[in-house]
């Protein structure tokens, strides 16, 4: 069973930036873009495991800090020509609070 867990407020995440939720099963990276869209994916690049939360965010994409793979924040999929997927997590925002389905 999964349930909604309150994580933080939108303002806690920098615009075009991210925060990390530490977790035994692998860290989760929470991103915010300039449209105030929030995304949650595994903090682990499908290429060599780089921490995606540390990358530069633009549009709906993050560039991995290790070797610049580009990951689609909405799906977790690597953009062409690369292949791979950092799993995505369900997330909702209510009254400025960010919830993750964990």
């Amino acid at each position: 069973m999964s349930s909604w867990q309150k994580i933080c407020r939108i303002e806690d995440i920098p615009v075009l930036g991210s925060r990390v939720v530490k977790r035994a099963g692998g860290d989760i990276a929470i991103f915010r873009n300039d449209q105030d869209e929030i995304f949650a994916i595994h903090d682990k690049c499908p290429h060599k495991g780089g921490p995606l939360s540390q990358g530069i965010v633009f549009g709906r994409t993050v560039a991995c800090p290790l070797h610049s793979w580009q990951i689609d924040l909405a799906t977790g999929e690597a953009l062409a020509p690369d292949h791979g997927c950092a799993g995505r997590f369900e997330l909702k925002v209510e009254q400025g609070e960010v919830y993750l389905a964990l």
Partner: protein, 819 residues
């Protein structure tokens, strides 16, 4: 809303490339219709010669299969030749009566072979060499007939002759001029080429005027007669005596034509709704027949069709290469020389090598290479970029002898490399993989190769080698636009120079302002352009433009170096490489307290603590009680020193103190790329000043300054800049040069590359000639650095706290991922 209609006449390389560029910019803007006179989708016409030679098949050279047109909702009419443009009704009409309305019309009708106006030119077995049909005709003829005559000893003619010879025909090439390829080679190289083609069994008649083609009773050609009365047998005559822009359609529609459809710098014809691109267009009096310029034109037309309206085509310098396997020749620019030019020659006729470099006003303006063309790309780059070659004149002829120093075992000639030889040592990419990607995906630039294969995408030292492989594989189709002239990234058409200028001239002070003023195509850029813009803003408008941490690479945001496992390394500042017992004790205590897995000496005379967790960084800095060593940034790194006069028996000045003063002065300096300095106390140069961005060597009478050295990817020895007498002057001259670099270099351009781009003379003019200008530069540097806080201290005080603090973990629960 109804989309405007774009109709393209001609389905060849230039036209389809224009559509590709257009679709990249605006995928859905137009309703597109394409008319092609041939029954094939767009194919690579350049590779017809390898098809004729039996090295590739027609299927190998298709660039855009029919599915590509379908995917992009392009209406494609094959086998239909447009015969009329009705400009009043804005309709084109094809030979079968098909009509298409247009709002914008793109003419890409290419060229037609020039058929000599001699009697008999209509006989069976007399053809031009232009398309798949001609190629198939030749292949078929080779199976049934014996004698082939190729009229024209240009690129196309020789490739046709070579192919027919390989297919077993007896081939004679007839040429008007004294030597082959007279538009691409000088006489010496032309004669060398003829000798080696003769060795392959081709025959040549030159100079020779064709008078008449004689037919047999079956209506097929049987002989060629020349003006001097000589006659030779011929069952197949290939006319390769040049091409003519195919402008008939435009001319009949009343468009201004003059050896091609005349276009302006936006590739627009005299009718503003109609553009022309490729071999049919006459731009500033030239109708280009090589693919690289056509691709440049395609980008410009696409930019205008997309409504951006900022691109300009200003003509091209072209280079050529003959696609005959085993024959290497290359020429570019004004290779004939003469007039006010000088020439450097290397001639070894027995060894089959000939090289000529043509120089004018200290610049390379032309090159003609035969037998050894390995440095063709490099010369071509020097020609296009107009580099001052004065400094390297002595060894210019011997080429760029180390394309990549590391990991290539001295291998620098792409053409001779085996397919399984490693090109990219960082990513383990072999030559064969790159060649295959180039052929399969139709790659035309080093950037394409980087994207598709990852070669040259890490350290970049093999980029030169990749460029050579590209040229060796696709010849003239290679897009060799130097990086500095290319758009910064896919978000914009502006290059680094124009962005820097706009920021300065229009006083732009934030990234959104720049993106708005320069019409960025993406809402907030990408990981390539944002760091560049951020640097340009803070370096142009210090204390005014605000630094944007989200536009910095993680190392500069976290003020530590990210490692492969996501931990960080911490390098505290040790000015001039000098430390003391108290600092060493604190470092030891920190290493114990935070269980730091590795403590290592760096190459810059400091100590590196590796494997620090991000959330520990601020506390580690606090416990160290030292300043940031900036070992992570596009910034000042260290000033390496030797012990100097204080201890060393050879020392002539206090080099250690000089280094400490420089490092103090330059603390917290951001720059286009990393900046390393060294100060040596005597010419024995123990601090390795010769490979630093600014290297200083003490001599008895003062200090010598060297600039533009680099010990990294490609070792570059610093060049002598100036000699000064006091340590105050060392600071002033060093500061002024670094400020010039900070103000003018492009993002990620090291001092050596900046120096090569602008030339030593330019830098000397700016820094040495005029004391007032030098002082102004120096003062601007000090002003920029004044009051900048140490970044570690700022973060200990609470700046950017969210960067270093994870969110509180939610209670452990069963977890669900959705993929």
């Amino acid at each position: 809303m109804k989309k405007p209609k774009l109709v393209m006449v001609g389905n060849g390389m230039a036209g389809v490339r224009t559509l590709e560029e257009l679709l990249k910019l605006v995928p859905d803007m137009y309703d597109i219709t394409v008319f092609g006179a041939e029954p094939h989708p767009n194919y690579n016409r350049i590779l017809l010669s390898p098809v004729l030679a039996g090295e590739q098949t027609v299927n190998d050279i298709i660039l855009n299969p029919l599915s590509w047109y379908a995917e992009h909702h392009i209406r494609l009419y094959l086998n239909r030749k447009v015969v009329q443009i009705d400009r009043q009704r804005r309709v084109v009409v094809a030979d079968d009566g098909t009509e298409a309305e247009y709002d914008r019309l793109l003419l890409a009708t290419g060229s037609t072979p020039f058929i000599l106006p001699v009697p008999g030119n209509q006989l069976d077995g007399v053809i031009g060499y232009r398309d798949i049909h001609d190629t198939e005709t030749m292949i078929e003829a080779a199976t049934r007939y014996r004698h082939a005559v190729v009229i024209g000893g240009g690129l196309l003619g020789l490739e046709a002759a070579n192919g027919l010879k390989l297919r077993g025909m007896d081939v004679t090439v007839v040429h008007l001029s004294d030597w082959l390829l007279e538009r691409q080679l000088d006489r010496t190289a032309g004669k060398l080429l003829q000798t080696s083609l003769e060795a392959r069994g081709l025959k040549f008649l030159l100079p020779k005027h064709t008078a008449e083609l004689l037919g047999g009773e079956d209506g097929r050609v049987k002989a060629v007669r020349f003006k001097d009365g000589e006659e030779i047998p011929a069952d197949l005559v290939v006319m390769a005596a040049g091409i003519r822009p195919n402008a008939t359609l435009a001319e009949e529609a009343g468009l201004y034509c003059n050896r091609g459809v005349v276009v302006d710098d936006t590739m627009q014809t005299y009718d503003p709704r109609i553009y022309a691109v490729g071999e049919c267009a006459n731009h500033r009096g030239i109708a280009y027949g090589l693919v690289a310029p056509l691709y440049e034109q395609a980008r410009v037309v696409a930019n205008h069709l997309a409504g951006f309206g900022i691109a300009k085509y200003q003509g091209s310098v072209t280079s050529t290469k003959l696609k005959v396997t085993g024959i290497d020749l290359f020429s570019a620019g004004e290779f004939m020389g003469g007039g006010s030019t000088e020439e450097i020659l290397l001639s070894d006729p027995m060894g089959g090598v000939y090289k000529k470099l043509v120089i004018q006003d200290n610049k390379l303006v032309g090159a003609c290479l035969y037998g050894d063309t390995g440095d063709g790309a490099w010369y071509f780059q020097l020609i296009r970029e107009g580099h001052d070659i004065h400094e390297m004149r002595d060894h210019l002829m011997f080429g760029e002898n180390h394309l990549g120093d590391a990991g290539h075992a001295g291998q620098s000639k792409a053409a001779t490399m085996a397919d399984d030889a490693e090109v990219c040592g960082c990513n383990g990419i072999k030559k064969g993989t790159i060649v295959k990607a180039i052929q399969e995906h139709g790659l035309t630039s080093v950037d394409d190769i980087k994207r598709c294969t990852k070669a040259a995408s890490s350290c970049g030292s093999c980029a030169g080698l990749c460029e050579q492989i590209l040229i060796a594989t696709v010849g003239g189709a290679a897009d060799l636009t130097p990086k500095t002239e290319k758009p910064i990234c896919g978000c914009t058409d502006h290059n680094h120079a124009s962005v820097r200028k706009a920021i300065r001239d229009a006083h732009l002070t934030s990234i959104p302002e720049v993106m708005k003023a320069l019409e960025w195509r993406t809402p907030n850029g990408c990981a390539t352009c944002r760091p560049a813009l951020n640097y340009y803003l803070i370096s142009t408008w210090p204390k005014e433009a605000k630094d944007d941490p989200q536009s910095r690479f993680i190392n500069e945001r976290a003020h530590a170096n990210i490692q492969k496992d996501g931990t960080y390394s911490v390098v505290p500042q040790m000015k001039g490489g000098v430390t003391n017992a108290a600092e060493l004790r604190r470092i030891a205590d920190v290493a114990d307290k935070y269980a730091i897995p590795m403590v290592k000496m760096t190459g810059g005379q400091r100590i590196d603590l590796l494997g620090v967790k991000k959330e520990d960084l601020v506390n580690v800095w606090k416990d160290l009680g030292m300043n940031s060593g900036h070992a992570y940034g596009k910034s000042i790194r260290t000033v390496k020193t030797c012990v100097g006069q204080e201890f060393c028996r050879f020392g002539t000045q206090n080099s250690t103190q000089m280094g400490i003063e420089l490092e103090t002065m330059l603390a917290n300096m951001w720059s286009p790329h990393k900046v390393k300095l060294a100060v040596s106390g005597c010419p024995r140069n123990c601090a390795e000043s010769g490979i630093k961005d600014v290297g200083i060597i003490a001599v008895d009478s003062g200090w010598e300054l060297y600039i533009g050295g680099n010990g990294g990817i490609k070792t570059e020895v610093a060049e002598f800049f100036v000699k000064v007498s006091s340590s105050e002057e060392v600071k002033e001259y060093t500061g002024a040069f670094l400020q010039l670099y900070r103000e003018e270099a492009f993002y990620l351009e090291r001092t050596v590359h900046y120096l090569h781009r602008v030339g030593m003379e330019y830098i000397q003019n700016k820094v040495l000639k005029d004391p007032a200008q030098r002082l102004a530069l120096y003062e601007r540097l000090l002003y920029s650095l004044e009051g900048l806080p140490d970044p570690w201290a700022a973060r200990i005080a609470g700046a950017q706290a969210h960067e270093f603090t994870p969110l509180a973990a939610p209670a452990a629960q069963a977890e669900k991922e959705t993929v």
